[in-house]
Subunit: 252 residues, 2 copies
């Protein structure tokens, strides 16, 4: 009629440690405790344990299980609440998976766009003439030479950095921030620093990227399909443009 703690553990496929824990948190009290301290469980305790284990298998936390077992007919309600919770978790995971997939893709291909077409981009857009007039037609060749001189590992690292920057922009834009906020301006600073590290970038006398170049680039992010798609939506590309414009206004 009564079972020892190990017998209960074997019967239910759990461990004695777990049973002690359940007692510690007030979830399952042994029906009897011998004067030697041994715990004994009767039929009722076993049934209660089964219900606990069932709810646990369904993913409920111990405190919720305790609450559900208090008011007996409230269990279905608890399950329904839990179901909502699980569904929300599932959606969160799905979004995460999509995010990771996008990041991997960005690092493999999108980064290439940033890295290789960032300069090349001018060749295909309405800005071409203007840019060539201002900074000369060999800016592309210079950057291309720089790029092809790196080995695969260096290129990969550089791509990753570019892709992360794109991702950070996307996240900031998606968070509903203001383009003039601290975070956005910090990103703009990173963006400028990143351009600064790129040979072929047109510069002012002090070596920093030229204000006109930055503004032209910012406009292009919105106007050019390929860049716009790198930032996912037109709204996000606009956010990037406005943040860079604000940065130029504040720092030049």
């Amino acid at each position: 009629m009564e079972a020892s703690i190990q017998e209960v553990a074997r019967l239910t496929g759990t461990t004695s440690r777990t049973l002690r824990h359940y007692q510690a948190v007030g979830l399952l009290t042994p029906s009897r405790v011998g004067n030697n301290g041994y715990r004994w469980y009767d039929e009722d305790a076993l049934v209660r344990l089964q219900r606990i284990l069932l709810l646990r298998e369904l993913g409920l936390g111990l405190p919720e299980i305790a609450r559900a077992l208090e008011a007996h007919d409230d269990e279905t309600a608890a399950l329904r609440r839990h179901l909502e919770h699980l569904r929300a978790e599932s959606r969160r995971l799905d979004r995460l998976v999509a995010s990771v997939e996008r990041t991997i893709t960005a690092r493999e291909e999108g980064a290439g766009l940033m890295a290789e077409d960032m300069f090349d981009g001018f060749d295909h857009t309405q800005y071409r003439e203007e840019v060539e007039q201002r900074w000369g037609a060999d800016a592309y060749r210079a950057s291309n030479d720089w790029w092809t001189s790196m080995d695969a590992g260096e290129q990969a690292a550089w791509k990753a950095r570019a892709a992360d920057l794109t991702n950070a922009w996307s996240a900031a834009a998606g968070a509903g921030l203001d383009p003039t906020s601290d975070e956005a301006q910090a990103l703009a600073q990173r963006h400028v620093d990143w351009l600064r590290s790129v040979p072929g970038t047109p510069r002012d006398d002090d070596g920093t990227p030229a204000a006109g170049y930055l503004l032209g680039l910012a406009d292009m992010y919105v106007a050019d399909d390929r860049f716009r798609s790198a930032y996912e939506t037109a709204e996000k590309a606009t956010f990037v443009r406005d943040a860079i414009r604000a940065w130029v206004a504040a720092n030049r």
Copy 2:
């Protein structure tokens, strides 16, 4: 050029506590520490922090982030591993959701089958005559009276108990256990105890459910479509039958 810990926190949308933690786990070291102990972060540290935060947003753990940042071009590989992990988690959640849904359904409807048709079931099957001959035609009426005499709360509690038993059977059968294993026999014991608590159950002189009744019931779980579907598959219903048969053989 350098930012204080709070400035960094504001810029990146995190907290100073987090930055200290990252230093404690060796993930991000301040570029400089004043002789007053204050931490200062430069451009490089900020870039590293951004990459950390990106990976964290994607759900990677701090140790994995540390590893990914060690070997720079290994980040994409880390993301790919992480993606697999996330997908597995997603599948697990989906299974959980399905399980919870099934349990709720079982408690609402399936339990009704156990509770109301458990006896009624005889009326529709090939076992009707046999059962009526052995235990009398008024067994159903007795149990029906008992059932209708409970209020809604009592009925709900009883349904939940019945549904849990069904669920436990389903889980045990799905786990690939042997019908004669300790766990399966514990379930059979619960099943018999449960029948024992039901008025109208044919009994032996000692008040326990009659062996013949148990065996008939066990056969019916496999033979009758409605019971078989309560246990989801024919294999699971067969598992229940075999476990009950083994229990009868061992205890009667």
